[in-house]
């Protein structure tokens, strides 16, 4: 087909009619192709245009696709088995362990931790309390387990127990107590640590979690100085971490936060980590627990 443009004299001088004819030809050819693409797109399950969806929407869709069938369930099943199984040098189960609601009372215990325990004279979170029970009831060496790297040996047992115990409080609302002096002291300590800037990058927890609207790449960062909402922040742990395929308890999460700030690990069950748990847990009062959750 012979083009019937006038001599090109630059865009402003191009007669409208010639432009219209040219565009008609272009679109006519494209139209056949577009119709084919349209049919194909209609037949495909997924939407064709990423531009119509923001990255945040796409990430939300990804998370939704994985929400049912959370591999954390495998850890929950293991945790239940470990709670009821006679283990350790004393060959006894954990069924008499007091998580704050009385010996053996598991439902509701998770959402009222960390709390003060009279028998140890200190505020403990779920994981340090489990260590106490594993030592006192079953004869395990608590110090050795605390020194064991995350994801290895008895640390995996702890993660499984944490998953099951948290699951027994799923849907309940956080109610971390502040009735005792020790509990209030730990809250204040946690707050102090939360804002304490140190390390080679001069980071504090507050650097990432002290304000609304913060983000690292595609990861939104909740503000933890107040209640960030149901199933967010403190209320989203323990969780199955897709990236490593492991169940992370709050101890691992907090210790890893310090590692990411280029601090050394404060240590498993250390006062610093428990204090931070009290601070975040009290701030999250009323938030619904969805643990164990699913995380990237």
């Amino acid at each position: 087909m012979k083009r019937q443009y006038p001599d090109w004299q630059g865009p402003r001088n191009r007669p409208l009619e010639a432009v219209r004819r040219h565009l008609t030809r272009v679109f006519a050819r494209a139209g056949v192709f577009a119709a084919g693409v349209g049919l194909l797109a209609a037949g495909m399950a997924s939407p064709c245009c990423a531009q119509s969806k923001s990255p945040a929407d796409s990430i939300a869709e990804y998370r939704k696709m994985l929400a049912d069938d959370n591999p954390a369930e495998l850890f929950e099943a293991k945790g239940e088995e470990l709670w009821k199984k006679a283990r350790g040098p004393k060959n006894i189960s954990l069924e008499a362990c007091d998580l704050g609601k009385g010996p053996g009372q598991v439902a509701g215990a998770f959402v009222s931790l960390p709390r003060y325990f009279a028998d140890t004279g200190r505020v403990q979170d779920l994981e340090s309390r489990l260590l106490t029970c594993m030592q006192v009831l079953q004869g395990f060496d608590a110090e050795q387990i605390a020194a064991t790297p995350f994801g290895k040996a008895e640390q995996v047992s702890l993660a499984s127990l944490v998953a099951w115990i948290a699951a027994q409080s799923r849907g309940l609302h956080f109610d971390v107590p502040q009735g005792r002096t020790e509990e209030r002291r730990m809250y204040e300590l946690g707050k102090q640590i939360f804002f304490y800037r140190a390390g080679p990058y001069d980071f504090a927890c507050a650097t990432c979690h002290g304000d609304d609207g913060k983000r690292i790449r595609l990861q939104e960062l909740p503000r933890l100085t107040a209640n960030p909402g149901d199933g967010v922040g403190f209320a989203a742990w323990p969780a199955y971490r897709l990236s490593t395929g492991e169940l992370w308890g709050m101890q691992r999460r907090i210790n890893d936060c310090f590692r990411q700030q280029r601090f050394p690990y404060p240590g498993f069950g250390s006062e610093v980590t428990i204090a931070l748990g009290v601070y975040m847990g009290v701030n999250a009062r009323g938030a619904e627990s969805i643990a164990p959750a699913l995380k990237r």
Partner: protein
């Protein structure tokens, strides 16, 4: 002995949807440990699904199936009370079988 699978089987509208979570490392054999040594490949290679004792689906998997593998399939028919059994064999020869009742 590998940990148990989580099997859910639900009958509705003349079909039974089965969802399975298996406990397995699914190590590709491409990763290195902190010392720089290759972590050996260790992954489920064959999966078999049975309804009331008859094989309805089999699968061959490569190491690129995710850790703690997920499987979903739909049986034609099936009703509450039927037995679903899932079995797997990995490249080391280890096996695991679990059963669940259709709800």
């Amino acid at each position: 002995m590998a940990d148990p699978m989580k099997i859910r089987a639900q009958a509705a509208d003349g079909k039974t949807t089965v969802r399975v979570l298996m406990a397995h490392e699914m190590e590709t054999g491409q990763r290195k440990d902190p010392a720089g040594k290759i972590i050996p490949a260790w992954y489920i290679q064959q999966v078999s699904a049975q309804l009331n004792g008859a094989i309805v689906l089999t699968a061959q998997w490569g190491p690129s199936i995710s850790k703690n593998p997920f499987l979903q399939f739909t049986v034609r028919g099936g009703k509450a009370g039927d037995r679903v059994a899932i079995s797997w064999i990995d490249n080391s020869g280890e096996r695991r079988s679990d059963e669940a009742t259709v709800s």
